[in-house]
């Protein structure tokens, strides 16, 4: 269930837009979780046909209820035909408007229900059930990818060996650090494994730069769990975060070893 509120700005503190067709933004809420997204109204700047563009946007987003200041009878007719409920005369800031609407809806349920004495506890129970339901939904969405990531980690653990790793490091501090960051980025799992591998690599004479890069990149960069990160937080965020963290692991490795070597106590 979705509620769209016409708004003058993109955030929750913005005022409710007073004209449905020409409001600058629509803020669309999930009725249960109140998660929201702000969408600029393509019709905000056009003089004619603005109402049509706003209707297309709201219908396309599968909205169930629209909250706004004023809506023309024509637009109202189109929205109603698409099964959308319109509430006019709404003002104040966007978030308060949605909260007021949800409360008035609950009140309406209470009024129509004659057994209203246990309303508060029923309301609490409904809120807890709602929270469980949306948490379960969020979980189910992420579980298949998570299962894939776990299977991928198993493959890596079985096919790679410490000996194979130590073959790759040549002794050149710069390239070893780069390789360290690469290996740390590919591998995942409990960081304690990176300490064990790091300790083993040191024994093979591999530089502390490379070992530090492995340890830092192990946690901060995750190629294996990238599909899960993309599905949870979006492709752009996941790619940017991992690339930046890759370079950060090299910088942290360099700074740590330089500071470590220059401080004595």
């Amino acid at each position: 269930m979705k509620i769209a509120v016409s708004a003058d700005g993109p955030d929750l503190e913005s005022e409710v837009g007073q004209r449905f067709g020409t409001s600058k933004y629509f803020i669309i809420f999930d009725k249960e979780t109140l998660a929201f997204e702000s969408i600029p109204n393509p019709g905000a700047s056009s003089d004619s046909g603005s109402g049509v563009q706003a209707i297309i946007l709201v219908v396309g987003k599968k909205v169930d209820t629209v909250l706004t200041g004023y809506c023309s009878p024509t637009a109202m007719g189109h929205l109603t035909k698409n099964g959308i409920k319109i509430v006019t005369g709404v003002d104040g800031n966007v978030y308060d408007a949605v909260k007021r609407y949800k409360e008035s809806e609950l009140k309406h349920i209470k009024e129509t229900d004659h057994k209203s004495d246990s309303w508060t506890s029923e309301n609490n129970r409904a809120a807890i059930a709602g929270a469980f339901k949306s948490s379960a939904r969020q979980f189910v969405n992420i579980l298949p990818t998570l299962a894939g990531v776990v299977l991928l980690i198993g493959l890596f653990n079985a096919l790679m060996s410490k000996e194979l790793l130590s073959l790759v490091f040549s002794g050149n501090a710069f390239f070893d650090t780069l390789w360290g960051a690469c290996f740390g980025s590919i591998f995942a799992g409990n960081p304690v494994n990176s300490y064990v591998i790091g300790g083993e690599l040191l024994k093979y004479g591999i530089s502390l730069f490379a070992v530090t890069a492995v340890i830092v990149a192990w946690v901060t960069v995750g190629l294996v769990q990238m599909p899960a990160e993309i599905s949870a937080l979006g492709r752009k965020f996941a790619v940017v975060r991992n690339v930046v963290s890759f370079f950060m692991s090299i910088a942290v490795a360099g700074a740590t070893v330089l500071v470590f070597n220059s401080i004595r106590w």
Partner: protein, 174 residues
């Protein structure tokens, strides 16, 4: 009628997208089993171990999700983790990342929900990166590398994660 039809098509598409990756992994396992059966079994066992390791943190994260859904509304999230939360937001997300347990992917559902409710990108990045500092594992790290190294690494890492988080925020459109 049309609305129902398009809903069911979207649902089908989403389901296919969701199960594509795990199914692909199972196919890879099938191939590996045909070529190197003992490696496939070892990989499967290793996956089982990883799965057992994440069940407790996942349960913990589920409880946190329920509590968050129950008590935290978008206005709270924007105040605590929003773009204008300032130094408090940085300290909060950094501390939360450091003390968070279990693998990062167990935290994705919670991060996804926080972000949907208005949390800023750079604070999400700081949370994920700060997980490089593991207070519970420090004794193991010290036993391998010594106290001096661990102190220096911890201080440099915390600073690095905040800088990297900030850059991530700028580049990902905060």
């Amino acid at each position: 009628m049309n609305k129902e039809k398009s809903k069911s098509i979207t649902w089908k598409k989403r389901t296919i997208r969701l199960i594509l990756f795990p199914v692909l992994m199972l196919i890879v396992y099938g191939f590996l089993f045909a070529v190197l059966p003992e490696k496939a079994i070892a990989a499967f066992k290793s996956s089982g171990k990883v799965f057992l390791n994440i069940t407790i943190p996942l349960g913990f994260v589920f409880i946190l999700l329920v509590i968050f859904n129950l008590f935290l509304n978008p206005a709270h999230i924007v105040k605590l983790f929003g773009k204008k939360s300032g130094i408090k937001g940085i300290i909060l997300s950094s501390t939360a990342g450091i003390i968070s347990m279990g693998p990062v992917y167990a935290w994705y559902p919670l991060l996804r929900e926080l972000r949907k409710k208005g949390a800023a990108n750079y604070l999400m990045a700081i949370f994920i990166n700060s997980r490089a500092v593991k207070p519970f594992l420090l004794p193991v790290m010290i036993s391998y590398f010594g106290v001096r190294y661990v102190i220096v690494l911890t201080v440099v890492t915390v600073t690095g994660t905040i800088v990297a988080g900030y850059i991530t925020g700028v580049l990902s459109g905060d």
